[in-house]
């Protein structure tokens, strides 16, 4: 067999059935570094927590399989879990949709102004997230004694006589934490909205005016929103992730544990059992339950959004 013939044969073979590597090679090379880190530090933790959730595990002895005991304990033998679940759901339902809507509303309003004003307003709205650790300043502002800025102002205006225990009274501390979280909610989603609104196709707006769009709200509904699909989806993921992860903010504002667990959340419950009591199995079960809640929320929201932007 001559060399030419065998060359033709291999060429045919390649043409007929490109190998998996030849077809996907470049993609795999580009994906490899991220996939390695992603698997070890994101996927593996999720998978192992599913496994640990069916065990008794205290980091010292090897994990011991105990079936659904952890899950049964969550609902029937742990009142604090139920409080944490209730608080997490209330926080999520208030701060998630409200923070999301406000992010879009402010991005939309800011978008109308000229460049310099727009940049400044974007900076102002995003600054709480940028400043990071500064939210502890709210503790000084809402301080429970008469030295607190809010209390002293209210006393001066004779709206109250006695200082209010904003951070420890279960009647108020939930509201204070909600306020701080809303203050922190102009994050990545908000920036995506501002950037997205800037890059919209302007010819569609002209066409809309010709087609009889009468006011700004019609414009928003019929032209702007359908084009904002990718950004709206991105914002939604970010705000669901944030809304269910509430905990560390509430811990530094109202203390741990808060009075009567009034601002206790699932994330704090996981921290309590995982980091302090080293009941890794039970902590993992609570974490897995939280994962399921978040995936459910994401499923509902993405279905709704895809209907809206289609």
């Amino acid at each position: 067999m001559s060399a030419v013939q065998s060359d033709i044969k291999t060429a045919r073979k390649v043409r007929r059935k490109p190998s998996f590597l030849k077809e996907n090679g470049p993609a795999l090379v580009f994906l490899a570094p991220f996939t390695l880190f992603f698997f070890v530090f994101t996927i593996l933790p999720i998978l192992t927590s599913i496994f640990f959730s069916f065990t008794y595990f205290n980091m010292l002895e090897p994990p011991r399989l105990i079936g659904f005991t952890n899950y049964i304990r969550m609902f029937f033998d742990d009142d604090v879990f139920l409080i944490a679940l209730k608080n997490t759901l209330i926080f999520a339902f208030i701060t998630g949709p409200l923070g999301y809507t406000l992010s879009f509303l402010f991005a939309w309003l800011i978008n109308e102004f000229r460049r310099g004003v727009r940049s400044l307003l974007t900076l102002i709205f995003y600054s709480p997230v940028l400043a990071g650790n500064v939210y502890f300043i709210w503790v000084f502002m809402f301080s429970g004694d008469a030295y607190g800025l809010i209390n002293s102002t209210l006393i001066k205006l004779s709206l109250i006589k006695e200082p209010i225990q904003w951070l420890t009274d279960p009647k108020y501390n939930f509201t204070v934490v909600t306020l701080v979280i809303l203050w922190l909610s102009m994050g990545a989603g908000f920036l995506a909205f501002v950037a997205g609104l800037q890059s919209l196709d302007r010819s569609l707006f002209e066409a809309g005016t010709i087609d009889g769009i009468k006011n700004r709200f019609q414009e928003l509904w019929y032209i702007t929103l359908p084009q904002m699909g990718p950004q709206l989806l991105f914002g939604a993921v970010m705000s669901i992730a944030g809304a269910f992860a509430v905990g560390y903010e509430s811990m530094s504002i109202t203390g741990f544990p808060s009075t009567d667990y009034s601002t206790h959340t699932l994330v704090l419950h996981i921290l309590d059992f995982g980091n302090m009591r080293f009941e890794m199995g039970y902590a993992s079960a609570v974490a897995v339950f939280l994962f399921a809640l978040m995936l459910l929320a994401w499923w509902i929201v993405s279905k709704t959004l895809s209907k809206l932007t289609d």
Binding site: P26, A27, L28, F30, L31, F34, F37, F41, T42, L44, P45, I46, S49, F52, L109, I110, E112, R115, S119, T122, L123, I124, F125, S127, P128, L130, A131, G132, N133, V134, F136, I137, W138, M141, Y147, L149, I155, W183, A188, A195, S199, R202, F205, G208, T209, I213, E219, P230, A241, G242, A245, V267, I270, G274, S284, A287, L290, F291, M294, L295
Partner: protein, 305 residues
């Protein structure tokens, strides 16, 4: 009217562009009544005051002399500004067992190296996800979206087990590696890379451009706003980390630890605490302001279709 509009217009019709600079350019879409614009502006200013109040209070508090910090009734603004708190902060910092420069170096090192690596890793992964066809691409993308939901707060316990097993406790890697594993940046880059027109990629392919050159010379310059945004997010996240979770060795801890140490001293230290908080918030805000102008400029150009 708007500079961006002018830029877009002049780019669309270069012949008329120069003329338009002299005349007032009229926005083609709907205009709002003057009263409405003013009302919205006032509303935004009110919200802005609420947003920046804690930052302003931090600045004001850091400039207050000790007698004003204990003043009753407390005042928001400072009467006799002083730099006493900063001197006190330097004294407190010098008394610490670990030199301040060490914390500063740790924070800068982790923030700069971590951000740089993440931009490379995330954009590399975003390229095939947005522009190449490969098996299971849709599934991979779906997993990435789901993974955004799982913030470090939520996966922290099992992550701890893995980092401990790999022997990474008390190393910079324990802070950097989990950041490289977050899928949110990959998602962000992919969403923007999708907007790169396929015609450009096809044309480059015909010219014989390989994947590597395509990625570094064609795709990356076109998605500049995306990676600038990603720099802001990642830098700010790493800069604000204390390292508390995986780092117990004081010499490897990050700058925000200093803030925690000083502000745990109660109200007498609140001035010095505010001084540290002020210094901590300057770098991320500066990085944002520098990159923000580029983001806006690039966005205005990318608006031309």
């Amino acid at each position: 009217m708007e500079r961006d509009d002018e830029m877009i217009h002049s780019a669309e019709t270069p012949a008329l562009g120069r003329k338009k600079h002299f005349g007032r350019y009229k926005k083609p879409s709907l205009s709002r009544s003057k009263g409405g614009t003013i009302a919205i502006f006032i509303f935004l200013i009110m919200v802005s005051v609420f947003m920046v109040m804690p930052m302003v209070y931090t600045i004001v508090q850091s400039l207050k002399p000790i007698n004003e910090i204990f003043l009753y009734p407390p005042r928001f603004f400072v009467q006799q500004p002083t730099l006493d708190n900063f001197t006190m902060m330097i004294q407190l910092v010098q008394d610490m067992w670990v030199p301040f420069e060490r914390y500063l170096f740790n924070s800068l090192f982790v923030a700069i190296v971590g951000t740089g690596l993440y931009i490379v890793v995330a954009s590399m992964a975003a390229y095939p996800l947005s522009k190449l066809k490969f098996r299971y691409a849709a599934l991979y993308y779906q997993i990435i979206v789901w993974a955004i939901l799982f913030r470090p707060e939520v996966t922290r316990i099992p992550q701890y087990v893995i980092i401990a097993k790999l022997g990474l406790i008390n190393t910079y890697l324990s802070i950097i590696l989990p950041v490289l594993a977050t899928s949110f940046g990959v998602f962000l880059m992919r969403q923007f890379m999708i907007t790169v027109p396929d015609e450009i990629i096809e044309a480059a392919k015909i010219d014989g451009v390989g994947h590597f050159t395509m990625f570094t010379r064609i795709i990356m310059p076109m998605v500049k706003p995306a990676w600038l945004t990603l720099i802001i997010f990642t830098f700010q996240q790493l800069w604000n980390t204390t390292g508390g979770q995986y780092i117990y060795d004081e010499t490897v801890k990050m700058l925000p630890t200093v803030l925690q140490q000083i502000s745990s001293g109660g109200i007498a230290r609140s001035g010095a605490g505010a001084a540290v908080a002020l210094i901590l918030m300057i770098p991320p805000i500066t990085v944002f302001i520098i990159s923000q102008s580029s983001v806006m400029e690039t966005m205005a150009q990318s608006g031309i279709k």
